[in-house]
Amino acid sequence: MIESTDSVDRAGQQPRPVNDEVVRITGLSKTFHKRGLNALDDVDMTLRHGTFTSVIGPSGCGKSTLLKIMAGLIPASSGEILLNGVEVTGPRQDIGIMFQQPTLLPWRTSLENVLLPIEIRSGSAAAQERSADALQLLELVGLGGFDQVRPFELSGGMAQRVAICRMLVTGPAILLLDEPFGALDELTREYMNVELQRICRERDATSFMVTHAIPEAVFLADQVFVMSARPGRIATIVDVDLPRPRTLDMMTTPEFGALVRRVRHELNMGIGEGGEE
């Protein structure tokens, strides 16, 4: 990949990453040439260790594209992503990812599904050795005793818990969550948000979640990135300074309501800006 002079200049201007910086993105752009679509335009962001970041934006704002580039699944057109100081050029073991669908293999038990990333990278023997860790993870997400159960016996929320374990088993430095609970019903989704917060806190994880539910974005996040569409760029950052651990009761407080209103306002501004098409 040829680096644009622009990003080289930037790299010259900015100091090297500080210790607690997990992800640093500079001047990231993505153009889908076939469709002539400018999906992402000059995105900069920093994710610090142990923080939770939500990204919200209208559909087609490139938020999923951003996540896939961060995961090394598709290349950027220009710009740079550093994960723990090393540029992301493809999929890596220290990147954990989770999708809207649990994407569990139906012929494997929960335990075998959780161990899949180890098995693919290091072989079955290595996976076998890590079973104890996998069982501990299942315990952590509240699925102790479900290790020999197959996906068709699990509810949607339980299946996503297994997917969380599979994401965590390699001990990734960053968790990339692509609308992880978007396919769940509202009540299960709220439960899963509380659970995700607990798991992230216990693992001291750095997380980056794409969503289009404003309350969910605010509930989980330390900062909410609001994106605008065409070209996709980060319009505003809303800091969420609600105390942790957050509870579902907090969602009815005026402070929470004010944050939701603010994010919604910024979103509307973004849509108004890019909505000429």
Binding site: L73, R92, I120, R121
Partner: protein, 290 residues
């Protein structure tokens, strides 16, 4: 929120009120084996009546009694190792070889076609259009090429059973969904690993659908081959019996052809159940026992 495995309890007995509610139609209240038996007997009765009243000449349509008698004679001949036993053995060999060759070639080539870009873009359209041809029409060609022996029948059975396997296997290779493929990419899975751990298992339901069709088609292929190419198989015996107006024997022999087909089909279906315990169709059966 913690779950306990006990939550996955099995089916629970319905109350009488529920049972009444769900068994609205009388047919639902009759055990299935009863309805199947009654319908079978009714059809036999109609057959018997038509033969008995001689709407059709008895030579052309023997009644159930003559047919069962002939079936009994045929069975005795088979058990004592007579010429029908020989025919049954020949046809069975043709069918099994035809099926195995079709299954093997169809599976291997189907994986190649479904897994490669060239296969998907260039070969697949040919396969689909070839599949639409009436393949039995090729039978005389195979007789000309491979002679009147067993080989031409095996080739015919293979040829006709091959297409459902290759087409379904190739389609099955595309069954894995995009997100799961993305997941494998994120795990830095090699092409071989993705094939073995994701694409092939995902393709199994399709492959088995193809194999079940192939089990039925390989019998068709072998019999058509025998009709046109002679030999000593069941097909030839049927052709000869029909020519000499021994329709009762034709019926008896067809029963044995059916046995070959059913056994092969049953074997494939059994293997499918063993391997696809995780699949929707099987799960439905597990949970549907109420």
């Amino acid at each position: 929120m913690t779950f306990k495995p006990e939550e996955l309890a099995g089916p629970v007995e319905m109350s009488d009120a529920e049972a009444l509610w769900y068994s609205g139609k009388w047919i639902d209240r009759v055990p299935q084996w009863v309805s199947v038996t009654v319908l079978g007997l009714a059809m036999l009765g109609i057959w018997w009546l038509i033969a008995e009243l001689e709407f059709v000449s008895r030579i052309l349509l023997p009644g159930p009694a003559e047919t069962f008698e002939e079936l009994w004679d045929t069975t005795k001949n088979i058990v004592s190792g007579g010429h029908i036993a020989e025919g049954l053995w020949i046809t069975t060999q043709e069918v099994v070889w035809g099926f195995l060759l079709a299954a093997f070639a169809g599976f291997v080539l189907g994986v190649v076609v479904g897994e490669t870009r060239l296969g998907k873009r260039a070969v697949m359209p040919y396969l689909v259009s070839f599949n639409a041809l009436p393949k039995v029409a090729f039978a005389p060609v195979f007789v000309a090429w491979f002679g009147f022996g067993v080989n031409s029948k095996i080739v015919m059975a293979t040829f006709i059973a091959f297409f459902p396997v290759i087409v379904d296997t190739a389609a099955g290779m595309l069954a894995a969904d995009d997100d799961t493929l993305m997941l494998f990419k994120s795990m830095e899975s090699s092409r071989w690993q993705t094939l073995r751990k994701l694409k092939l298992p995902s393709a199994l339901p399709f492959i088995f659908a193809g194999l079940k069709t192939a089990a039925v088609f390989s019998v068709v292929g072998a019999v058509v081959g025998e009709y046109l190419g002679g030999g000593h198989g069941l097909g030839e015996l049927i052709r000869f019996s029909a020519q000499t107006l021994r329709i009762d024997r034709v019926f008896a022999l067809i029963v044995y052809l059916g046995v070959i087909g059913l056994l092969l089909f049953g074997l494939v279906a059994w293997a499918e159940r063993k391997l696809l315990f995780w699949h929707k169709s099987e799960i439905f059966e597990i949970q549907g026992t109420g």
